[in-house]
């Protein structure tokens, strides 16, 4: 029995060696597979941010008094908003279409008089609502700035008194709110999904396409051994990528590692096995590289990005999508990575993620092998 296992391991090793030769002979693929994660991480880390500075604001000051000028300078003083033009109130839509401004602050005539008389007065903020994210930010920022202008105007009566209630915010895990800390765990899952599913799908589909798969079957290597041997080099490649992404994240964006590295790599390992199994399944079904790519993109990339909680919060999605996200392995990896890297969570909190990964991996490998066998029978 022991001899059988040993011989089987030798055959798996031979398959893995052959696959490694394939990879090494085509260094361009290897570079792309290794350079892409770093490049993407770099771009994501710097590029993905929703925090706007110097938002272009147009001003329609119909009052033209000292008070209205004071309001405008209070709004643009923080440099969060920047005055780009003096316009008439009805110019808003045109400016929004040309993208020269995203909001118009409209100060009506009589503003200065109202302020002097201590009355309640209104200013209008016309916002380009097309981009709701930007619009919400502009509304919140202008609202806060105008509030503080109100307090300033109130002068000694209100401002000198300490506010009755003070709210102290204490943000844990990511006190400065850097997007990179949020993105790196998600990005790691995404990049692993790309390389694991698509590279496997492509190589195996390529063997079918060229007819060399039949040649392999003619050799004494068993089906399962072929599967394992083909997956092994990509598993190693995937683990290297995972380390590369995390190392680069730590180096460039100070992503911490607060929990156990062992747990992290264990969960990452099973995630990779599951993704490789998915790639194999796709290639067995598609047997064509072009179709395999698209199927891989549809079944792995998109869910890994959209339904993993990587960028878009899962809690806000409609229920059917939330349920769908429960069968997306990337969801568990993203959750586990964030927990380990940022929060320092351990096994006690993250065991459900590990169980989910292992279950998915076993299921998909079983499915792929079964399907693989049937193809030949």
């Amino acid at each position: 029995m022991k001899g059988v296992l040993a011989r089987s391991l030798v055959r798996i090793g031979a398959m893995a060696g052959k696959e490694t030769l394939h990879i090494r002979r085509d260094p361009r693929t290897l570079y792309l597979a290794l350079v892409m994660p770093v490049l993407m991480l770099f771009l994501f880390g710097y590029g993905v941010s929703f925090d706007l500075e110097r938002i272009p604001l147009a001003v329609a000051d119909l009052d033209r008094t000292e008070a209205s000028r004071a309001l405008v300078s209070a709004v643009v003083a923080s440099r969060e908003l920047e005055e780009v033009a003096r316009v008439a109130p009805q110019d808003g839509p045109r400016l929004f279409r040309e993208d020269t401004a995203v909001a118009v602050l409209d100060i009506p005539e009589g503003y200065g008089r109202d302020i002097a008389q201590g009355r309640r007065t209104k200013v209008q903020l016309v916002v380009d609502g097309a981009d709701a994210v930007v619009a919400n930010q502009v509304l919140a920022k202008v609202d806060a700035l105008v509030r503080s202008e109100t307090r300033r105007l109130a002068g000694p009566a209100l401002a000198d008194r300490s506010p009755p209630i003070e709210v102290r915010l204490w943000t844990r895990y990511n006190p400065t709110g850097r997007s990179a800390l949020f993105m790196v765990p998600g990005l790691a899952a995404y990049l692993l999904a790309i390389s694991a599913v698509l590279l496997t799908a492509l190589t195996v589909a390529g063997e079918w396409e060229r007819g060399s798969m039949e040649q392999l079957f003619a050799s004494p290597v068993g089906r399962l051994e072929i599967v394992l041997g083909k997956l092994l080099p990509y598993l190693v490649l995937g683990m290297i990528e995972l380390q590369l992404v995390l190392a680069f994240g730590a180096f460039a964006f100070d992503v911490p590692l607060r929990g156990s590295a062992l747990l992290l790599f264990t969960i990452g390992f099973f995630f990779l096995v599951g993704m490789l199994g998915q790639g194999l399944l796709i290639s067995v079904i598609a047997k064509n590289q072009l179709v395999a790519t698209q199927a891989g993109a549809l079944s792995a990339l998109l869910p890994s990005m959209l339904l993993s909680g990587m960028v878009f919060p899962l809690e806000n999605m409609p229920l059917p999508l939330q349920l769908l996200s429960r069968v997306v392995p990337a969801r568990y990896l993203v959750h586990a990575l964030r927990g380990i890297l940022l929060k320092g969570n351990g096994f006690a909190v993250l065991w459900p993620d590990l169980v989910a990964q292992v279950a998915f991996a076993i299921l998909i490998i079983a499915l792929a092998t079964a399907r693989f066998q049937r193809r030949l029978a």
Binding site: D26, T29, L32, L43, Y46, G47, S49, F50, L52, R54, I55, P93, F96, R97, D114, G118, R119, T121, K122, V123, Q124, V126, V127, G129, A130, A132, V133, A135, L139, A140, V142, T150, L153, A157, L158, P163, P164, V167, R168, L169, T171, R172, Y173, N174, P175, L181, F182, I194, L199, G206, A286, Q289, T293, Q294, L307, F312, P313, N316, M317, K343
Partner: protein, 407 residues
């Protein structure tokens, strides 16, 4: 009158139109025959739009929140209730521990004296994303005009969510504090100072919904993914199988071969855009405010760039695998730097500069401005011009490479 020489030439080589039609026919047949590819080109983008449209929602609400009410008075319970009233913050649910469920299943604060340390543990475990700690003596302090401090502990793993949750609490107590300060002034007979109110008027998208803005952007992304990668891999596949060489020994001129090959994808791209717009208006209330010819022109120019990039990648690769990876190496940064997912204005300056050569950026702007803001040629000529220049440049470079490769 044709000279004999010219007639000889036409006899040996069919006219450009005939050649083009022949290639186009061949390509259409080849594409349509593989039903799986047609599925990928037409049905998949549609499916993705639907999923995308529902999934991509930046509105942060229902943040799972704990209220640690250390005061336990009627007032503090009232604050807790009003704080959670607008739906931004949602009472955290506890399935994990029975004891927490009973506390939070009960009416607000009934005997609640959970400690801040416990709240932190719940944040660690991910059961809550925010904890609001109402201090002991809150109601008494406020009544006695002493100042009180409310603490908010936030889970910063999602910075956006943390900001929204923190803002909601700050705003609630800020308003409350201001109202109380005014009351106190009034009670002393001091006239209340002037108050400025901001009245928002939201143009184009009064409900501030995400899908009407995202769906046109998603159309740009899907078109990019479908056309660039399929073209790059398709050409590499032909080269791998040797069929490209076979076609090249026929009298067809290489340039016409290329144009004919692109033809079906242009048609498919246009069909995709039409379908996506239909789904967008039907499912996600995307308005159609501007002139559709601008969309058509923009789409054609955009397809020039995406197909050109696909061609260029295929000439730089030796296998389908390389084409695919090369395609991704272009597609992913192009998506990221397009402004579709995150506002371009939020990027650092040097990244903003890179977006100037990104066709996806211009096409997304064209789609969004035409559909949502009702813009026309007068507003969008710079974007259309940029697309035309980029497309022309890429196509010239790609055909030149293609000729070199086969020559």
């Amino acid at each position: 009158m044709a000279t004999p020489g010219a007639m000889m030439a036409t006899a040996s080589r069919p006219s450009a139109r005939v050649q083009l039609a022949a290639v186009f026919r061949k390509e259409v047949r080849q594409t349509v025959r593989d039903r799986r590819i047609m599925f990928m080109l037409i049905v998949a983008p549609l499916l993705q739009t639907v999923v995308f449209g529902f999934a991509v929602d930046f509105d942060v609400d229902r943040v799972p929140t704990l209220v640690v009410d250390r005061d336990g008075t009627a007032e503090s319970r009232g604050h807790a209730r009003r704080l959670l009233a607008d739906g931004t913050l949602l009472r955290a649910r506890f399935d994990r521990r029975g004891e927490a469920a009973t506390i939070f299943g009960a009416p607000w604060g009934a005997g609640t004296s959970r400690s801040p340390a416990e709240a932190e543990r719940d944040l660690d475990a991910g059961d809550a994303a925010a904890a609001v700690i109402l201090p002991r003596g809150l109601a008494a302090d406020l009544a006695a005009e002493r100042s009180a401090e409310v603490q908010v502990v936030l889970d910063g793993t999602d910075p956006n969510r943390a900001t929204v949750a923190g803002g909601a609490v700050s705003r609630y107590f800020g308003d409350l504090g201001e109202a109380m300060a005014r009351e106190r002034l009034a009670a002393r007979g001091i006239p209340a100072p002037a108050q400025i109110e901001v009245v928002p008027r939201i143009a184009f998208n009064p409900g501030l919904k995400t899908p009407p803005y995202m769906v046109p952007g998603i159309a740009a992304l899907l078109l990019l993914i479908v056309t660039t990668i399929v073209t790059a891999m398709g050409l590499s596949r032909e080269r791998e199988m040797g069929t490209l060489e076979q076609v090249l020994v026929t009298p067809i001129r290489p340039i016409l071969l290329l144009v004919g090959k692109m033809g079906p994808f242009v048609v498919i791209g246009l069909v995709d855009v039409a379908l996506l717009l239909a789904v967008g208006t039907w499912l996600f209330d995307v308005p159609l405010r501007g002139p559709l010819p601008v969309v058509l022109v923009g789409t054609l120019l955009y397809l020039m760039t995406t197909l050109g990039v696909g061609l260029l990648i295929s000439t730089l690769s030796t296998s389908q695998q390389q084409s695919f990876l090369g395609g991704f190496l272009f597609v992913l940064p192009a998506i990221l730097l397009s402004g579709v997912m995150t506002p371009i204005r939020a990027m650092p300056g040097w990244l903003q500069a890179i977006t100037w050569v990104n066709p996806v950026r211009y096409y997304a702007e064209v789609m969004r401005t035409v559909l949502l803001r009702g813009g026309g040629f007068a507003d969008l000529w710079p974007q259309l011009l940029a697309l035309a220049l980029l497309g022309g440049g890429i196509l010239v470079a790609a055909t030149r490479r293609f000729r070199e490769r086969i020559g």
